[in-house]
């Protein structure tokens, strides 16, 4: 081998090798690029020099062989490329994972057919190849592209994603965003359940209409201040909901197209007529989300909610281990990590998916309003927390000492109620539902994106909006044995496989070499 091609190969290897070694820091560096480029030039020059000195092709037989084989190789290459293109088109695959992890469930397929039947533009799953989980998720996303007629995959690195998806993209934690037209929905952890849920919103006939009561000092949907709800309004629109204001004093009934009503911390009393309107709405199977606030004394808390089985004491929940996420940590800032596992409102939330509820009011259950009603507590403050009735002092940040002795008990912060309608007890879509969350600030503009606040709120509105079947799509059933080998077993196998077996093979090699020499 002459110097030129050898040097070329070395330079290409160093160039590509240095790229692999440093690609996590930056892309192709000047060093790597220059090595590859110069290496290629040297290789070509070397090949030309070699070809000029190459002997043996002067005969017609040699030329005939060369030409024939070039033709054969090109033909076979073309055939292989053709086969490859065909294999891409048919997308045949065998999923040998124990839980068929990369094969879509019947529920997802059914949803895809529903989507196809409805027609319209396809739903695009924008896939970000640079994401941390991209390698693990690629096959699952491909499964949607292969098995879902109404879904297309858009690789963000190859085709620029829509502006709405770019707006939603935050970090490499964003793996998949579902889009249709300019409306996009980010998929949290990219499991089949979450991707299907994201696709599902595009199958709905119309947006879920959410009415926010106004006129009693409730939080303003349009307010862009830290405590305002403009972020909630934008998020709801992004998620396929239609938030509207409901002016209680001016209405004789809740609008017929209301899918749910949100009462966000009324500071003042509601008129008896307004309370009656809300009672009638619930009695005919209405849905209501209540966001409470410590320190408020509206008759909504003292009269209306007890009628439906909730007891919201005029108190505040405190916990000394308050959130360091806020600049001014006070005991009123609760980190919540204890949830009822089977409640639809707290589904997907667990010990590692905390929510931050500042100024929360205890949300306990009262007297059950009817025999068929089902009331549950869904989220709890930590065992170190306590309830203080000195609300003004606690909210002002003054030190409010915990009671000297108290029985350990769970303080509820979220509660739910289901009230089946007479004659249709079995049909849960007809029942009235109420979710009471003991805090209104957790979805304010300041805290909406904090921890899992957004998820708690969305779970609640989805359940109330009859969208819970999408939340309920279960993950695959395989539960891995997470601890297959103890450290002792691991080490024992290591000795056998990394030392004993190689040692035996090496001894065999020495024996073979000795026999050959003999």
């Amino acid at each position: 081998m002459t110097f030129l091609p050898a040097a070329g190969v070395v330079m290409i290897l160093v160039g590509v090798g240095s790229y692999y070694a440093t690609r996590s820091l930056h892309g192709m560096s000047a060093f790597s690029g220059a090595n590859v480029a110069i290496g290629l030039v040297l290789l070509v020059l070397g090949a030309i020099a070699q070809a000029r000195r190459f002997r043996g092709f002067s005969g017609s037989e040699s030329r005939r062989v060369v030409v024939r084989w070039i033709a054969i190789l090109l033909g076979v290459f073309a055939g292989v490329v053709g086969l490859d293109v065909w294999a891409h088109a048919v997308t045949a695959r065998i999923d040998l994972t124990v839980d068929r992890q990369y094969t879509l469930s019947d529920e997802s397929i059914e949803l895809c057919h529903e989507l196809e039947k409805k027609g319209g533009p396809p739903v695009e799953l924008v896939f970000f190849e640079d994401a941390l989980l991209a390698k693990d998720v690629r096959l699952l996303v491909d499964a949607y592209g292969d098995s879902c007629p109404g879904v297309q995959i858009r690789d963000a690195s190859r085709r620029e994603p829509p502006q709405a998806a770019r707006d939603l993209y935050t970090t490499t934690a964003t793996t998949v965003i579902a889009c249709r037209h300019d409306v996009c929905d980010p998929v949290g952890y990219p499991s089949e359940r979450n991707i299907t849920n994201a696709v599902a919103r595009f199958t709905r006939e119309r947006a879920i209409r959410v009415y926010f009561t106004v006129g009693h000092g409730e939080i303003d949907l349009a307010s862009e201040s830290d405590t305002g709800y403009s972020g909630v309004a934008a998020m709801l629109r992004d998620q396929g909901f239609d938030p509207q204001a409901f002016v209680g004093p001016a209405a004789s009934e809740v609008p017929a197209d209301a899918d749910l009503v949100v009462v966000a911390a009324p500071e003042r009393d509601l008129m008896p007529e307004e309370l009656a309107v809300l009672d009638r709405y619930l009695a005919r199977g209405g849905r209501m989300l209540v966001l409470a606030e410590a320190g408020q004394r509206s008759n909504f808390y003292s009269q209306f909610l007890p009628r439906w089985g909730f007891a919201l004491d005029d108190a505040v929940v405190l916990d000394r281990a308050s959130s360091p996420l806020l600049q001014d940590p006070k005991p009123v800032n609760l980190l919540v990590h204890r949830y009822a596992p089977y409640n639809p409102v707290t589904r997907n939330l667990g010990p590692r998916t905390m929510t931050l509820l500042p100024r929360a009011r205890p949300t306990e259950l009262g007297r059950n309003p009817s025999a068929g009603a089902k009331l549950d507590r869904a989220a709890f403050a930590s065992p170190r927390s306590w309830v203080s009735h000195d609300v003004a002092a606690a909210l002002a940040g003054r030190d409010v000492a915990p009671p000297d002795s108290s029985d350990p008990h769970e303080i509820s912060l979220v509660a739910t109620g289901r009230y089946p309608r007479a004659g249709s007890e079995e049909d849960s879509s007809q029942e009235a539902r109420i979710v009471v969350i003991g805090d209104r600030e957790f979805v304010s503009n300041r805290l909406l994106e904090a921890l899992y606040n957004r998820d708690l709120f969305l779970n609640a509105v989805r359940w109330l909006g009859n969208d819970e079947q999408r939340i309920a799509l279960s993950d695959k059933g395989w539960t891995p044995n997470q601890d297959p080998l103890t450290l002792q077993q691991t080490v024992a196998y290591f000795y056998f496989l990394a030392f004993a077996l190689p040692e035996a093979l090496l001894l065999l090699g020495i024996f073979a070499w000795w026999r050959q020499r003999a």
Partner: protein
Amino acid sequence: MMLRMRALCRKELRQLFASPIAYVVLTVYVALTGIYFFQHLVSYNQLLFVYQSEGMTGGGFDQGTVPTRINVLNEVFVPSADDFGLFLLVVLPLVTMRVFAEERANGTDELLLTSGLRPWEVAFAKHAVTYAFVALLLLGSAIYPAVVVLRASLGMEHLAALLLGQLFYGCAIASLGLACSSFTSSQIVAAVLGYAIPFVLLDFAWLSNTVSEGVAAVLREAALLSHYGSFARGVIELRNVVYFEGVALLGWLLSVASLELSRAR
């Protein structure tokens, strides 16, 4: 013809296992895979310990809440499979470099080609024996993963998918190495080319920023790594099988062409 092929394969096998290089390669590969699998297992055990001790120390979390996402498949099996693929790239050229080049250097290739054997038969036997050696390498390295698969209820089908993928991938690399070996009488040249070509073909991500989107897509399709990953995750895709078999076929045809050329000169 079958008799001739069988005799040829037997000769190749004898030649392969008469030299210590096959044993050295087996030793290195089994040791490397054992060590790396062990390292992944130890890291995984430490990760489990962190999760479990967090619960025990009362850091605000309940006990026994290791997320199901943290499991042997994601933390040990898949990263190990990626490592094993790179190790195959490291050891296989050491085996393939001598297969044709040694015959050419000793002049025994002329004997073979004038003994009534056709070039494709010679190339076929050499390729088949090398592929069998690749299979042997994989079996040696599969013991540790097999134990973990059984204990973690991962399913033997998943292990079969991984081994099949490694076999396809290994055969493709070996085939390229054999093609390089068939064009030269120098084992060093054969080894350097046997490393360089698969190494460059491994992944074209380094070029993707400098070429157009269409070219980048073609390069991605031509890269070895983009076809290997799904096997480790337990999925056998037709397109990946076609790709690896296509590379192996082209490597074999190049070897045949080289032998035909030698005979014609």
